[in-house]
Amino acid sequence: MTADSLSAPAAAPVRGRSLWDDALRRLLRNRAAVTAAVTLLMLAAVCLIGPLLSPHAIDQVYWDRLSLDAAAPSWDHWFGNDANGRDLMVRVFYGGQISLMVGLTATFVALIIGVTWGATAGFMGGQVDNIMMRIVDVMYSLPFMFFVILLMVFFGRNIFLIFVAIGAVEWLDMARIVRGQTLSLKRREFIEAARAAGVGTATIIRRHILPNTLGPVVVYTTLAVPKVILLESFISFLGLGVQEPLTSWGVLISEGAKEMETAPWMLIWPAIFLAISLFCLNFVGDGVRDALDPRDR
């Protein structure tokens, strides 16, 4: 057999390179996705470091700029000031911290719970699937605001609770998507072939089912992040979310929208930051999805 004459160096570098290594390699070749990822990271870095470098504090009121006519962007206040005379740039940066954190954390929580739940229900099938999906249905039917208010009443106002509340509704969609995918995958012949080859259930889910559900999951995730950011601003708008002087992009935008005609900068700056993040996120999402699929190019 040629097995002996097989040159070891030729085959060696290939060994141990997993799906993830390959996907990363393909992702790095995708210029749009890399640019978007770098932009997103820079944006996050600016939001984190910016407030430290700025001479202004988040809650510092500049009395001379309290009137909106005097609050336009200037040399001292690059983004201008808000209706309360506070420096807008620092507030946009702080808002970014909150929005990105809520967006990413809540989505991540939803992702983990939803994927695990959906894949298990779909793969187990039968009675297990029935019970697990009925639980999802029941949670769906609970009004979201009722759930949020309930949490607030029991645990008081807390940013952490926003993550929990949002994560708790977002995972339901994820679970349904992944379950549907898993159900159709389960009937595919390569799953049957893996079972016929004696591969165990856990390995089949991990190696054969999950990677095949990733495409839709990644796309859904990139759609979920903006949804979560907007949900947060809705909760905050009702006075149940982030509290003054803390803020978020969603809150800043809704405040800005009220003053759109007199002080357009109050809307424009947070909107630009949010738009850039969502735009980049979509590119990264598309890139990840393409990178995960070996058939793509």
Partner: protein, 334 residues
């Protein structure tokens, strides 16, 4: 049942006794496999033939423990003397893939598109033989060579979509044979492939049969495939075995009207003039509403009263031959 064995003195590799497979559906129970009994000797090749829907696949999915969730198999299946029907999944996973393997009809969907061929082959070796990456890759490449995949050491690191249908089916065969199992079940391995590729795959299987001494079950609805590559044939209809025998004898003198019909429906190059292909009239039975007597009664040219009331049992007619028909004799002059 021992009368059906071609070589009764050796211990059978697989002994199936009164296997029954039922599916629960909202419309009622489907009797997919009914009282099927047979044995397979080490190293022999047995062809399972019958129209689609006759229960061929379900017999072997039952044996492999791969039934759909609404399915239930009863009876006895002994592999090398050990009962395998209804054993815990963990024990079953030590047997399937290791001692008995199965390949399926559609090679385009039988491989995971997200994993390289090497990863899928190695997975089996690492699971069953406890080999390391390196050793497993070596064995996998050797096996790909054996199924005649050119440049196996390079191609092993490709993804399934970079292979043609015929190549993928070879990969599936290689995967099934990696641990040198005693039994290979091939469920319509060539049905999804075009004719020239079909012939190549059958060539490969024929070679492997001689080389590895693996017993092969070849499930097909194509009598031509059976003729090519079988020692023995088992004809199935309505979830039952209706006739079994050595391939030559069965082709020359079919004893069940259904077998005769299948043979007549076979396209033949030596039969000139008849441009029209014969088809058995009527439809295969609905396994949910099987008739009281013989399942073939609606389509049988020789049907008589007795066929409507009783199910004909499978009875030995000659050494190694059996039929499930009340007729003494049919004349295959038609």
């Amino acid at each position: 049942m021992t009368s059906l064995d071609s070589v009764p003195e050796t211990a059978p590799l697989l002994a199936v006794d009164r296997l029954n497979t039922r599916f629960d559906t909202p419309e009622g129970e489907v009797a997919a496999v009914n009282d099927v009994s047979f044995t397979i000797q080490p190293g022999e090749t047995i062809g399972i033939v019958g129209e689609s829907g006759s229960g061929k696949s379900q017999v072997f999915l039952s044996i492999m423990g791969l039934l759909a969730i609404n399915g239930r198999a009863t009876g006895s299946v002994r592999f090398r003397g050990e009962e395998v029907l209804g054993i815990p999944r963990q024990r079953l996973n030590r047997i399937r893939g290791r001692h008995m393997s199965m390949i399926f009809q559609d090679p385009m969907t039988s491989l995971n598109p997200y994993l390289k061929v090497s990863q899928q082959l190695n997975e089996v070796l690492m699971q069953h033989m406890g080999l390391g990456q390196r050793e497993a890759t070596k064995r996998s490449i050797a096996m790909l060579d054996l199924v005649r995949i050119p440049e196996a050491s390079r191609r092993i690191d490709m993804y399934p979509h970079e292979f043609s249908g015929g190549m993928r089916q070879r990969v599936m065969i290689a995967m099934a044979l990696l641990c040198q199992p005693g039994l290979l079940i091939a469920d319509e391995p060539t049905t999804a492939l075009d004719v020239t590729v079909q012939a190549q795959i059958l060539d490969v299987m024929e070679d492997l049969r001689c080389e590895l001494q693996t017993a092969i079950v070849l499930i097909t609805h194509d009598m031509g495939v059976i003729a090519r590559l079988s020692d023995r044939v088992m004809v199935m209809y309505g979830g039952r075995v209706v006739e079994t025998g050595p391939v030559q004898a069965l082709f020359d003198h079919p004893q069940h009207p259904y077998t005769a019909g299948l043979l007549r429906a076979m396209p033949r190059v030596d039969r000139h003039g008849t441009s029209e292909l014969y088809v058995i009239p009527g439809q295969p039975p609905n396994l949910q509403y099987l008739p009281a007597g013989c399942a073939y009664q609606d389509r049988c040219p020789h049907v008589h009263d007795r066929c409507l009331g009783d199910v004909p049992p499978l009875i030995a007619t000659a050494p190694g031959r059996a039929k499930a028909c009340f007729l003494d004799q049919i004349h295959s002059d038609a």
